[in-house]
């Protein structure tokens, strides 16, 4: 049972890390876009305008009711058919996970903003702050404190969810792992055990660190 050596034969380990980077890059880009889209969306969803609030709820529930994989399938297979634009699996994944992430991020922002109690606004107004000052000095700092740990947690959720891209044919870490296993079928017959264990712990190392960072943030800011 020294088949674990397959992990470090040639450039195998680098290749696995490269595969991991493929899915992480999708996650990172999607998280960035989700922030850009989700924050204004969440602020709009926390407003008093019922159309804005209702519209956001419709969007959020429409995204949430289906599994992300089904969204990915619909987008990848259907949209290229209708629009005649041949979007790569990679680009489709970024688009779908941005749609998904923006909804989740929007909901977090909405939750953080609406969790500020009414007396905070009233006290600030009573102290003579104008509406802009109330937002900038009272609402935003408190919302950000509540939002930050949850937003960091959204990054780990995004990383875990982007592992789905293997199902639409993106060559990421599991696919690279499969290739390594197939090439070494005779030399290292039990390579599958070690390669998939390695992938498991790679994901764990990254997500666990980020979760812990979120927990630390939560303690510090609370």
């Amino acid at each position: 049972m020294h088949d674990w050596e397959v992990l470090f034969q040639g450039v195998n380990f680098e290749r696995l890390l490269g595969g991991l980077w493929t899915s992480f890059s999708i996650a990172l880009v999607a998280v960035l876009f989700s922030l850009v889209v989700g924050v204004p969306l969440g602020i709009a969803a926390a407003s008093r305008n019922r159309w804005l609030r209702g519209g956001f709820q419709v969007y959020l529930q429409a995204i949430r009711v289906l599994p992300p994989l089904v969204l990915l399938f619909v987008f990848y297979f259907y949209l290229s058919l209708v629009t005649k634009v041949n979007l790569s699996a990679y680009a489709s994944a970024i688009t779908v996970f941005t749609l998904w992430g923006a909804a989740e991020m929007g909901d977090l922002v909405r939750g953080a903003v609406t969790s500020i109690p009414k007396h905070q606004y009233e006290s600030a107004a009573a102290l003579g702050l104008n509406p802009v000052q109330v937002q900038l000095r009272i609402v935003v700092p408190q919302s950000v404190r509540r939002l930050l740990p949850q937003a960091v947690n959204l990054v780990t959720r995004m990383i875990k969810t982007t592992s789905l891209v293997v199902l639409i044919g993106v060559v990421e870490v599991l696919k690279v792992g499969q290739q390594i296993i197939d090439v070494n079928r005779f030399e290292y017959p039990s390579a599958a055990l070690w390669v998939y264990a390695a992938v498991f712990f790679m994901y764990f190392a990254v997500c666990y660190s980020i979760s812990k960072a979120a927990a630390v943030l939560e303690r510090r800011l609370a």
Binding site: P67, P68, L69, F73, K160, S163, V166, S190, Y196, C207
Partner: protein
């Protein structure tokens, strides 16, 4: 969209939906059992076991189901552990879900203030009665929204079981797209069947949560702090 294609495909999807439902129900039931065990072990601070449970929860929560399934299905046979596709999917779902259930139950147990236990003991209830009549009813009520959310989450997670060669809804859709190029029909049925499975459940749980919250508000305005009202009110914050 072609209606005859839809009717032709319908039985295939119905069969696949049963599989999805079966794997989902079995996996969720098992994850609830694991969750109860882990939450109990950690809540009562049982030595060694609580550490095992702690490591398990972190491993399960910080890895994706796809990766867990790949390891179970392709990795474990190399150790001589052969499991069927169905078993693999159920075990994978339970491995993932167990930690989510455990965390939901644990946060419920932790939300019951220690004064509740102290008061119960002071009133002469023994530890078992305290747990049975005072702590558990409140803890479970607090956990319900999180547990319900987990059920929906896990049912959605079953969508990846096609990677362990199970003919679920996604598998059928992909197969039909590849074979017949009837992409629109195949995807419409995929979305339709998932909506049939998930929408009623989501609506039911949303209604349940609203009701719990409304009960909490009403109970709160009625002032005297009974055990029941306290639990429900707290549920709204969970």
């Amino acid at each position: 969209m072609d209606l005859s294609t839809l009717t032709e495909y319908l039985p295939l999807y119905a069969q696949a939906a049963w599989l999805t439902l079966w794997v989902g129900v079995a996996g969720i039931a098992l994850s609830f059992v694991i969750g109860v065990l882990c939450a109990a072990v950690r809540h009562f601070r049982i030595p060694v076991l609580r550490n095992v449970a702690g490591v398990y929860v972190e491993l399960s929560r910080n890895t994706p189901l796809v990766v867990q399934l790949f390891f179970l299905y392709f990795g474990l046979p190399k150790l001589g552990i052969l499991i069927s596709s169905e078993q693999c999917a159920v075990i994978g779902l339970a491995f993932l879900g167990g930690s989510y259930m455990a965390e939901a139950l644990r946060s419920g147990l932790e939300a019951v203030e220690s004064i509740q236990t102290q008061s119960a003991l002071a009133l002469g209830l023994n530890p078992v009665q305290t747990l049975r009549h005072v702590v558990l009813p409140q803890a479970v009520a607090i956990s319900v929204p999180a547990l319900a959310a987990n059920v929906v989450f896990l049912l959605k997670e079953t969508s990846v079981v096609s990677i362990v060669a199970l003919p679920d809804l996604v598998y059928v859709a992909k197969d039909l797209i590849g074979n017949d190029y009837n992409t629109v029909e195949a995807l419409a049925l995929l979305v339709g069947f998932y909506l049939v499975l998930l929408l009623p459940l989501s609506l039911l749980f949303a209604w349940l949560e609203r009701r719990l919250r409304a009960d909490g508000r009403r109970a709160k305005s009625r002032a005297p702090k009974t055990l029941g009202s306290w639990a429900v009110k707290e549920a709204a914050h969970a």
